[in-house]
């Protein structure tokens, strides 16, 4: 005899589902290897799914905006190093250009090109870290160890130029502190020759890897509308399909003379962010090649700073032998040169997006107000919306693909 179906069982199950759910609270951070920096996420979890997130930031807040109000302009450069410390030269150049805009210094073409070479190298270094870390967080450590050699090589190039590696304090207001040596050019050319093959190898490891694709496609997707409302810029906005690039929209440092593509994604998910950064690295290589070609064509090989004696340090030989040069050197170093009153906003396309400097000067030796527009700080607030309903492991991946840098976040 067939047993009668126990309908009661189903009813009971339905009743059980209507009971209020129990959520867990999970602290990710402040010091957690997966956050890549010191910040905390308090996550409300339903099993392994995220119901809500609240970020706590400010653990490495160093009051740069306040400190900047007491420092002469050239002493603010080391502060900008520590914003996005993965691509310090970009921040340095952005700050120099801001001050040059306020002072009205005209920059020679050669300095513009030198700056572009450095800025694009810094962009490659930053994107390399971000992309390889996406790999690490999805469980693929190999790519990370491969490309860190190249990042190391870029740091060696910085070292040849300015003597330091991570926080570079590179360049001066008006140009560079010294001309690039032949060793620098050799290294850059060697890098351009060897790097594309390695980049391809790195991409082969991940881009069409089934596991990586499953982990990243449609994870942390964000629509273009929401991204714009949340103030996204840089690769994260471009991954959503908006082709906004400061280098194209408001060209600075002669970027208008260069030919490059602004890669865009479609879904704004982790995979798109990865691929956009990947393509941007190739475009950066292309820009550096163009800059090298332009520099080769120039007959002038010696100009590396603007000829404006009011703000550019005189050469050392003159300082030691000439009274006026010594006075000027002293005045510039002590920050006693005339600074016009005024206010400027200057922005550059940093590795994470639009890095802006809003500088207000009242004519004193220090800025009266300096505000950094840090791209990380602005787009990280969209994180709860991006990870809502995702699993915890995807949230980690989303965060690393957004490239949230604690130094920039907290300033």
């Amino acid at each position: 005899m067939a047993k009668e179906l126990d309908t009661d069982y189903w009813d009971k199950d339905l009743v059980r589902q209507e009971e209020p759910k129990e959520y867990n609270t999970l602290n990710v951070g402040p010091t957690h290897p997966a956050t890549h920096g010191v910040f905390q996420n308090v996550m409300l979890m339903d099993g392994e799914f995220i119901v809500n997130t609240e970020q706590t930031i400010g653990y490495i807040h160093r009051a740069f905006e306040k400190i900047a109000e007491r420092r002469p302009f050239y002493q603010i450069t080391p502060l900008t190093d520590r914003l996005n410390y993965c691509s310090a030269p970009l921040n340095n150049m952005g700050w120099h250009m801001t001050v040059e805009k306020l002072l009205g210094i005209e920059i020679p073409k050669r300095v513009d090109y030198l700056r572009i070479v450095i800025m694009e190298l810094a962009r490659i270094a930053d994107h390399l870290i971000c992309n390889s870390v996406i790999g690490v967080d999805s469980g693929a450590l190999t790519g990370f160890t491969y490309v860190f050699q190249d990042r190391e090589f870029i740091y060696e190039i910085y070292e040849e130029i300015c003597g330091s590696r991570l926080t570079t304090n590179m360049g001066r207001i008006g140009g560079f502190e010294r001309n690039f040596s032949t060793k620098v050019w050799d290294k850059i050319r060697y890098f351009l020759k060897t790097y594309p093959a390695k980049l391809k190898e790195f991409e082969n490891l991940l881009a069409r890897n089934r596991i990586f694709m499953d982990r990243t496609i449609n994870v942390g997707a964000f629509s273009a509308d929401r991204a714009l409302a949340y103030g996204f810029t840089g690769p994260n906005l471009r991954a959503c399909g908006v082709d906004y690039d400061v280098r194209v929209m408001n060209p600075y440092s002669s970027y208008e003379e260069f030919d490059f593509i602004v890669p865009v994604g479609q879904n704004g998910d982790t995979y798109d962010r990865f691929m956009v950064r990947q393509e941007e690295m190739r475009q950066s290589m292309y820009i550096i090649e163009q800059a090298l070609a332009k520099l080769d064509k120039m007959t002038d090989k010696g100009t590396y700073y603007a000829s404006d004696p009011r703000y550019v340090l005189p050469p050392k030989e003159k300082v030691y032998n000439n009274m006026e040069a010594l006075i000027w050197h002293f005045k510039i170093v002590m920050g006693e040169t005339d600074i016009p009153a005024g206010e400027v906003y200057h922005c550059i396309e940093a590795a994470n997006g639009e890095l802006g400097f809003y500088l207000v000067s009242d004519g004193g030796r220090t800025p009266s107000r300096l505000h950094f527009r840090r791209p990380c700080f602005i787009y990280y607030q969209a994180y709860p919306e991006m990870v809502k309903g995702n699993m915890l492991s995807d949230a980690i991946l989303t965060m690393s693909s957004m490239n949230v840098i604690a130094g920039e976040l907290d300033a």
Partner: protein, 169 residues
């Protein structure tokens, strides 16, 4: 390429003055950007209008930051807006008195303003009316001062072992 209307600055100013009249207190081009000073009574309406007007479309809030003007005892907020459609940037300024600093929030227009306003509150003590979660963001929660105001000392001012008066500090 983008179509750049040469008198776009003029267009913005004319439209705003037509609509808000005397509440637009000042407008000038500083260095390379149009800078408009707006009375705080209409700041929310001005921002909303700039965001929604079909011809202007300032759809992107680039940045928002606080200011302190100690000589006139006022606090201010500076908005940088960007219209992607027309590739045009403007700067909107407003100010409020130091005793009761209160301004309407911009989070209803741009969600991006959320943290920027929290940061401004954190450092200047400007209260944003209607903000969903106006608490300190970068400083510790139990801090009582507003550190970016000019009267807040950068270093401990009671120190006697350092004398930098020669250098104007």
């Amino acid at each position: 390429m983008f179509q750049i209307i040469p008198d776009r600055n003029q267009l913005v100013v004319t439209k705003l003055i037509d609509l808000f009249g005397k509440a637009i207190e000042r407008h000038e081009v500083i260095t390379d950007m149009l800078c408009i000073t707006v009375n705080k009574e209409v700041i929310h309406d001005v921002l909303f209008f700039l965001h929604d007007d079909k011809k202007l479309q300032y759809n992107f809030l680039t940045t928002l930051c606080g200011m302190h003007y100690p000589d006139i005892e006022q606090l201010g907020v500076v908005y940088h807006l960007h219209s992607f459609e027309n590739n045009h940037r403007i700067r909107i300024k407003t100010s409020t008195d130091l005793q009761y600093p209160k301004l309407p929030t911009a989070t209803t227009i741009w969600p991006a303003a959320n943290w920027m306003e929290r940061e401004t509150y954190d450092f200047y003590g400007i209260l944003f009316d209607g903000h969903p979660n106006l608490v300190r963001i970068l400083n510790v929660d139990d801090m009582t001062a507003f550190p970016m105001r000019k009267d807040f000392p950068l270093e401990d001012q009671t120190r006697e072992d350092k004398d930098d008066s020669m250098f104007g500090r």
